[in-house]
């Protein structure tokens, strides 16, 4: 059994089926990508997982047991997309306060905050106020307050927005470290290149329903279009075959699409027979970005309001 198991979750609002029968499973220690266009129902889904909303239907199992919001929130760290901190409160006090709200004792909280502040080189910030910080510094602090209490499940909604590449990497490294130490991470974003880089497993949600579920590689395989790029040692005069179509490329770099019923080896054989040397031959897998657009495209960009009868 995984860290988090969601089965047939539903949440209907008066004008929208925000989450309409979604099920998935997250393995312990994995980094899980929750993707979807704006208004797909991600935030509602996350709010149910964090115990902010009660689902209308369906069940959530947290660490093998039925999810109990009051006691389990201690083990969850949630960094919402709409996030912020008290502007007028001192940074150190604020971090300690948020940790205490998660259930840490005062001394324990202070120790943890100090530890993290040293890790992120923020010791000198303790007596500053949030209004003195830049946006990026604020995001860093927000991340610290999210993971401070060693949660088993960390939910990060657009964690890198507002961060420069250096600080992005710092946080990325921390995410890896936390996952390695056994924390499970749900990562929600629109930035597909980050998902490809970080996540093990993804689901794609659209219009309140799950439309994709699988490992990053599995999803790519599922959407591959048998495209290959070939580098030849000489430019062939004319390439034509019933095995494949040339879709693009120039001179000795070609992009080909293998027709149904043929194998990559057939392509290699063709060039060998033509007596043209093959320098490289690579499968071109679609990027998540392309998959995302392909899946979501064709559905209206913004969700229409609907009347819910349930």
């Amino acid at each position: 059994m995984g860290m988090l198991e969601v089965s047939h979750l539903k949440k209907y609002f008066t004008t929208q089926k925000a989450v309409d029968d979604i099920s998935f499973n997250i393995e312990k220690g994995s980094i899980f990508g929750l993707l979807g266009p704006n208004g797909a129902g991600k935030t509602t889904l996350i709010r149910m997982i964090t115990g902010i909303f009660y689902p209308d239907e369906g069940e959530i199992f947290f660490d093998g047991k039925k999810f109990d919001p009051i006691n389990d929130v201690v083990n969850i760290g949630y960094m919402p997309e709409e996030r912020g901190l008290y502007k007028k409160m001192k940074i150190g006090e604020q971090a300690v306060y948020l940790a205490q709200l998660k259930g840490l004792g005062k001394h324990e909280a202070i120790e943890k905050v100090k530890e993290w502040f040293i890790k992120f080189e923020m010791q000198s910030w303790w007596n500053k106020k949030i209004e003195d910080l830049s946006k990026g510094m604020g995001q860093k602090l927000q991340f610290v307050t999210t993971v401070l209490h060693d949660p088993k499940l960390i939910i990060l909604d657009e964690p890198f927005s507002g961060l420069d590449p250096v600080n992005s990497n710092l946080i990325k490294d921390e995410i890896y470290k936390l996952a390695k130490k056994g924390a499970t991470i749900i990562f929600s974003t629109h930035r597909m290149e980050q998902v490809e880089e970080i996540c093990d497993h993804i689901i794609l949600v659209n219009k309140g329903q799950k439309v994709l579920d699988g490992s990053v590689n599995g999803v790519k395989q599922q959407f591959k279009e048998n495209l290959f790029s070939i580098t030849l040692d000489g430019a062939p005069a004319k390439v034509s075959s019933e095995i494949f179509d040339v879709l693009g490329g120039e001179e000795n770099n070609l992009v080909v699409k293998i027709r149904n019923g043929h194998k990559p080896n057939d392509v290699l054989q063709y060039f060998i027979q033509m007596n043209i040397g093959v320098l490289s031959f690579n499968e071109m897998l679609p990027s998540l970005n392309e998959i995302f657009i392909k899946v979501v495209e064709g559905t209206p960009l913004s969700r229409q309001f609907q009347t819910v009868t349930a």
Binding site: V73, E82, Y86, M89, L101
Partner: protein, 442 residues
């Protein structure tokens, strides 16, 4: 429970540590004292003295119209309606021939109004003058005789005693009016001040986008409740500091009372006990202080302070959760808050109007009903209590009013909590009344 305590502590400490809290705690009483002193000062200083010219062909009034520095009457053949201003008079009183059994009209001509008080004073002096005139005409009493009768007739003081069946307690209507009005006004102001503080606090959490972060650790209701109680505790702290300040000032003032005055006051006390207040021959100062002291002693301070605290807290809890729910549904725009606040501020302002009537007629139906309904009871009941419990306000009324207020704030907190928990996470459009009603009833 532990989490509510944490939120409570944060709300309380950040506010109490704030410099504006300390300043306002000490400045508020100072401003009030200055305001009262200012009005009294201006009332004395700003009073204009009027000279009234009297055109009285038959000399009907000359001997009888009482003149003093604030309202002086001048007679002269050379003064008429055209030149009274040059002669330094504010107005001119034209007296026709007065005959018995015939109502005549005395005209007062002026360019500038005398004012309500001076006007009615003038009227009563004119009427007294006519009465005096007739007394001399119809009886053989001399003027000196009448004056001496007047001064000798000061034989008795009217003192009021509150009769609660067992004992009669000295009371003072004036003091009850003062305390009633002041505490009603104070609760009215504090409800607004602290209600608005709760609303601003909620709006701050929403616009800073920290609401969702906190709500993922605690329940929205805990957040709201911790905030309301924390700010309420700030209010209590402030009130307590005012009481301490008053006690210090009063004891400080008492230290300036000399030994002689104290022993003189002792004498008045003894004379009063003998039933003959005029027996003690003492200085006017001692008399004054004794009067203030004995008037203040007529009030049941313990009960008044307790009820004030109860109704302050009850009213605050009743309204602050409503303020919190308004704060939770508005976005950055303070104008939205204005229009949403109206249904909350209206009953508070209305209660204040009822209170100012109740304080004059504390047993009337308006006062009784106003002090029962939780919307207005915190302000209105405080106007009645100083008149005496259980005489003016029977125990059952006080108990019922308190119970209804507790039920009332439990209800508003419950309802507002539902609006709050949805509103705090909503960004974008302000919800309509209908949607908010749906949230509350869900």
């Amino acid at each position: 429970m532990n989490k509510i305590w944490l939120i409570f502590k944060r709300e309380y400490l950040t506010r109490v540590r704030n410099r504006t809290f300390i300043l306002s705690t000490f400045l508020f009483p100072l401003v009030i004292v200055l305001f009262i002193a200012g009005t009294v000062f201006l009332g004395i200083k700003g009073k204009t003295n009027h000279r009234i010219a009297v055109i009285d062909a038959n000399n009907y009034f000359k001997e009888y119209l009482k003149s003093d520095s604030s309202l002086a009457f001048v007679y002269g053949a050379d003064i008429d309606t055209s030149n009274y201003e040059q002669k330094g008079c504010t107005a001119v009183l034209i007296v026709p021939e007065l005959k018995e059994g015939h109502k005549a009209i005395i005209r007062l001509k002026y360019k500038k109004q005398l004012g309500v008080n001076d006007g009615s004073e003038l009227e009563s002096r004119v009427n007294n003058a006519i009465t005096d005139h007739m007394i001399f005409q119809k009886t053989n009493i001399t003027r000196n005789k009448l004056d001496s009768i007047r001064s000798e007739s000061d034989l008795a003081d009217v003192r009021s005693f509150e009769d609660n069946g067992k004992e009669a307690k000295a009371s003072s209507q004036g003091l009850a009016y003062g305390i009633g009005y002041a505490s009603g006004l104070l609760i009215y102001i504090l409800t607004f001040v602290y209600g608005a503080a709760v609303m601003r606090g909620v709006m701050e959490e929403k616009t800073n986008r920290i609401a969702e972060v906190i709500v993922s650790s605690v329940k929205p209701f805990q957040l709201m409740f911790g905030k309301i109680t924390g700010i309420g505790a700030v209010g209590l702290t402030q009130f307590l500091m005012w009481i301490i300040l008053i006690i210090i000032l009063v004891t400080g003032a008492q230290a300036f009372i000399s030994h002689e005055t104290l022993s003189e006051m002792q004498k008045i006390q003894e004379a009063n006990n003998m039933g003959n207040p005029s027996a003690a021959r003492v200085s006017e100062g001692a008399q004054r202080i004794f009067e203030i002291k004995s008037t203040l002693a007529t009030a049941n301070w313990g009960l008044i302070v307790f009820c004030f605290l109860f109704y302050f807290l009850g009213g605050y809890l009743f309204y602050s959760s409503l303020f919190a729910s308004v704060g939770s549904v508005v976005n950055e725009d303070p104008q939205e808050a204005q229009s949403l606040m109206l249904p909350i501020t209206m009953p508070i302002i209305f209660s204040f109007i009822i209170m100012s009537m109740a304080v004059q007629d504390p047993s009337g139906p308006l006062a009784v009903w106003g002090s029962m309904i939780p919307f207005s009871s915190p302000i209105v009941m405080m106007a009645r209590i100083p008149y005496g419990v259980p005489t003016t306000v029977p125990w059952w009324q006080l108990a019922l009013s308190m119970a209804l207020l507790v039920a009332g704030f439990l209800f508003t907190t419950w309802m507002a909590g539902k609006i709050y928990r949805t509103g705090i996470l909503m960004y974008g459009k302000k919800p309509s009344w209908k949607t908010m009603w749906k949230w509350a009833m869900k």
